[in-house]
Amino acid sequence: MISKEEKFPIAKRYNVADVQVSRDATAVKPVVVVNLIKKAKNPVLITGGSLLREEKLVEIAVKFYEKGIPVIATGGSSKPLIEKGVKPLFKTYTLHQITQFLLDEDFKPNGKSFDVVLFLGFLPYYLSRMLSALKHFSSITTIAIDEFYHPHAKFSFTNLTKDKEMHYAMLEEILSRI
């Protein structure tokens, strides 16, 4: 159960017209993400193309990796990550392909199925479609930790587009507690 204090108020979706009838993501604070990761049997962080433009996100992803969370790098995000010592589970496949793989219970690249998947550094409209696929056709817990609120994730940060520093601080807070 997530307490009221751990949630953000209902947020504006990244695109106001991306409407569905099923549940919207719970907008959560870092502590909830920490708890979800701690409880996960096999979590993974998937990184996207924004890491090629935003150095801070590379730094964050490296820290996740150093905390023992495996990384799947898409969109070319592998390049800066590998330069900083990360060995991603995958670097060739697109998020589109990885999502198709995640929908298959036989996909166990490190021996087990992933139960919690965190997404960092994606074009919002691209990630949104993948989150929609995972929402409807899998039981995976999806967590969007980008700067836009993602309604199709199970859990998402709220909109932090106005305050990048706050976004970074929230990511750091997760890292400091896992």
Partner: protein, 793 residues
């Protein structure tokens, strides 16, 4: 009365007597294949083969359905609606509908053209695409099973396509299919009809209008926002059916005044105007509509059909630009003036009595448009062309912004308009707004959401005006088909792999990045001696982006269908020539018969022709059917990230070894193969990812060792450059040491041994154990049982 022995009328009830067209015996140009004029299920088996490997992937845009009155129905989490359809199947149905729309657009365009041209030129006008094109209609031959010789023959292909489109459209009615794979098969079927429709349309206009016939070195025409001489009246044509605006050129030529006017176009009508006469110019793609109109550049706008803004009358009238709508597909609420005298139409438009007219009579359009443009031009000589009358007006507009971010949350790219506005308000610096212009689609959604009614599009365009105006490159005029002689030259190196691939950059402008990214991606392949083919909006975007020396790709690379060259085939309907080139490789190089032989040809292409479609900014329904048509033909397609909004992809699972097999005709055995290509339709997020995916999807099971070595060299180099390391899957494409890139052979053998457990004979530098299969020069793959049986005999 004595009854004579004979047949009673009653016995004739099953005899049909047709009066009208005399059926001519089809010339025996090839033995008929198994599927001439295929119905909706004749190729289902082939589709299911593809879809077994390349599993449909669905990313719902909506998880409800409201197509009937029992709804709306909540289909979330794959629930069933009132009619029994589940979410996956509902999405497959929606994709089928999108493909029906795309196929109908091209086919109706073809129907309009063919009927009109037969009226003008007669049905016996011969199909002559030049001396180097003997396989004139590869799609029609392969799908419909006829060899069209005249304009009239094209009607037979059209009739088949129209029938199939209606049948597929029927299948999407409530209460039909209940399996998503069968809807996908229907999407593929209607998309194949789309390709036939495109081929009909382009062949018809090439032969009737005298467009270039497979000529590699066509003229270069000015392209971009700043191309017109604003001291002349400007006629702007927009859309996809040049039939209506072509007479403008004729009229101006007849009156000897062609040099006194500017005729420039938007979207594919622009391409086709330049194919008709290279004096015409190209403003740009659909995203340039508001740019051009709001800048007040045209003195008259002539619209036809498809991919035109649905608020064109409003946009033009606000700028005092009269509009002439010509196609019955887009009448736009305007008065039909077909029966009016030309001078009365001119008077009504110039005086402003009518904002626009509907004039579906091409010859009248030819006369009216120049006359209107000339009169409006006289009135508008002092136009500013800068979106705002003054800097103060621009400043006042920017000052209205409160950074509420409504625009950001509605922009297709979530562009940070708020940040640009804030900086301009504080410092007067427009640079952050100017950057947005490079990526802005000028769709205008931001303005709809703005509570202060700021003219955001105008603000962005004005902020980058100098650079926008400087976009004046050159596009090589669309050449139409690929020559048979070119296919003879490149067929073998493509099939064997020495030419590492054909990249077909096709589609719209919904790029995730600045426009220059399309050029950056394609130049990577041109430098590496791939063949690059392009059409439509991509082809004109390429013509707008110049390098440091002021040259576009068309000025740097030749226009032949050959390694290291870039071919612009023309408009949307010219895409048929790209599919046609793949088919011609199977026919001209490999001597595979075409006539009604679709599955064999598609199977050949899937296993041997390293061609990949690339749509960096897909947005239209036509793009959906074009891509799906390529998929059925065995050609994978990579789309930009907006392509995920088509909701469906075809993505294989490379780790599932049992999914990747072929029959080897040589050995007579079912053989497991490397997953090449492993996706038929997949979206990428960044240009870096696009480059790597395009390279890897060019690999084919039939590559020779030399070919595989070349393809792997590029794939590995590009992965190291853009992904920072070797690809995850490079080793699964290695069949023997001869497949390894020469320069990296030792290094890669070491990796195979250490990381993948392969056994290496280091004395001979040979792979002893490890690959999924060995290389066999006689390997002859197929996934079609009938093809296997045919060639094993």
């Amino acid at each position: 009365m004595l009854m004579k022995k004979g047949i009673f009328v009653d016995e004739l009830r099953n005899v049909v007597i047709k009066i009208g067209e005399i059926a001519e015996e089809e010339e025996e140009w090839e033995s008929p294949g198994p599927t001439p004029k295929p119905g909706i299920i004749e190729l289902r088996k082939w589709d299911h083969k593809l879809l077994e490997r390349y599993e449909p992937f669905y990313a719902p845009m909506q998880d409800f359905c409201n197509l009937c009155t029992m709804g709306p129905c909540d289909l979330s989490f794959n629930k069933k609606g009132a009619c029994g359809i589940d979410l996956r199947t509902a999405k497959a149905r929606l994709v089928t509908i999108a493909c029906c729309i795309g196929a109908s657009a091209h086919t109706a365009h073809a129907r309009h053209l063919v009927d009109h041209l037969i009226e003008e030129f007669g049905e016996d006008l011969p199909i002559n695409l030049g001396g180097d094109v003997n396989v004139e209609a590869p799609l029609i031959r392969t799908v419909v099973g006829i060899k069209p010789k005249t304009l009239g023959d094209l009607r037979k292909a059209l009739e088949w396509a129209e029938k199939e489109i209606v049948k597929v459209l029927h299948s999407v009615h409530i209460g039909n299919e209940e399996n998503f794979v069968d809807y996908e098969s229907k999407a593929m079927h209607v998309s194949m009809a789309d390709h036939v429709g495109m081929e009909v349309a382009d062949i018809a206009q090439i032969v009737a209008f005298g467009f270039p016939k497979a000529k590699p070195d066509t003229d270069l025409v000015p392209t971009g926002f700043g191309i017109v001489d604003t001291k002349k009246p400007v006629i702007c044509v927009v859309g996809h059916n040049v039939m209506y605006s072509r007479p403008i050129i004729d009229y101006l030529e007849r009156s000897g005044r062609i040099d006194e006017f500017e005729v420039a176009g938007l979207c594919c009508t622009a391409h086709d105007m330049t194919r008709y006469r290279s004096k015409a110019k190209i403003f740009g793609p659909i995203s340039y509509q508001l740019r051009v109109i709001r800048a007040g550049l045209p003195d008259v706008v002539v619209s036809d059909e498809q991919c035109i803004r649905a608020d064109l009358v409003d946009a033009c009238s606000k700028m005092g630009i009269p509009l002439i709508a010509t196609s019955d597909a887009a009448v736009r609420g305007l008065t039909d003036v077909s029966d009016w005298k030309a001078e009365d139409i001119v008077e009504a438009l110039v005086s402003g009595k009518l904002k626009g007219v509907f004039l579906p009579v091409p010859e009248k359009v030819g006369e009216v448009a120049p006359k209107v443009a000339e009169e409006i031009f006289k009135r508008n000589k002092d136009r500013k062309y800068k979106f705002f009358a003054s800097d103060d007006e621009l400043k006042a507009e920017i000052a209205k912004c409160t950074q509420c971010m409504s625009c950001v949350f509605t922009c297709p790219h979530n562009l940070r308009i708020d940040i640009g506005m804030a900086q301009a308000q504080k410092t007067g610096d427009l640079s952050k707004l100017a950057i947005l212009e490079e990526q802005c689609l000028a769709c205008g959604k931001c303005e709809q959401s703005c509570p202060k009614q700021i003219k955001i599009v105008n603000v962005i365009m004005r902020s980058n005006f100098e650079k926008l105006y400087a976009k004046t490159g050159k596009t090589r005029v669309g050449r139409g088909p690929i020559q048979d002689t070119e296919i003879r030259k490149v067929g073998q190196p493509i099939v064997f792999g020495q030419i590492p691939g054909v990249i077909a950059a096709v589609g719209c402008i919904n790029f995730p990045d600045e426009m220059k990214s399309i050029v950056e991606i394609l130049e990577e392949f041109l430098k590496r001696k791939y063949i690059v083919v392009t059409s439509g909006c991509h082809a004109m975007d390429i013509g707008m982006i110049k390098d440091e020396e002021g040259k576009t790709l068309y000025e740097k690379y030749p226009g032949n269908f050959d390694a290291g060259c870039i071919v612009n085939v023309g408009s949307c309907v010219s895409n048929a020539h790209i599919a046609g080139a793949a088919i011609k490789i199977a026919n001209i190089f490999a001597m595979r018969p075409l006539r009604g032989n679709y599955a064999e040809i598609a199977d050949y292409i899937l296993n041997r022709v390293g061609a990949v479609g690339f749509s960096w900014g897909p947005y239209s329904h036509k793009a959906a059917s074009i891509a799906t048509g390529f998929n059925r033909l065995g050609v994978p397609v990579v789309v930009g990230p907006h392509g995920t909004k088509y909701r469906r992809a075809y993505i294989g699972k490379p780790w599932k070894n049992d999914k990747w097999w072929v029959y080897d005709i040589k050995s007579g055995k079912k053989t497991f193969i490397e997953p090449a290509p492993d996706s038929l339709l997949v979206a990428v997020e960044t240009k870096e990812e696009a480059i790597v995916q395009l390279a890897r999807l060019c690999i084919r099971p039939n590559d020779t060792s030399m070919g595989r070595q070349i393809k792997l060299t590029h794939y590995i180099e590009l992965s190291k450059k853009y992904m920072g390391d070797l690809p995850d899957d490079w080793h699964i494409y290695v069949r023997s040491e001869a497949d390894l890139p020469l320069k990296m052979r030792e290094e890669l053998l070491k990796v195979l041994e250490e990381q993948h457990g392969w056994k290496i004979d280091w004395d001979k530098k040979k792979i002893v154990e490890g690959p999924l299969r060995g290389y066999d020069a006689g390997f002859n793959p197929t996934v079609v049982e009938e093809v296997f049986a045919k060639y094993r005999r």
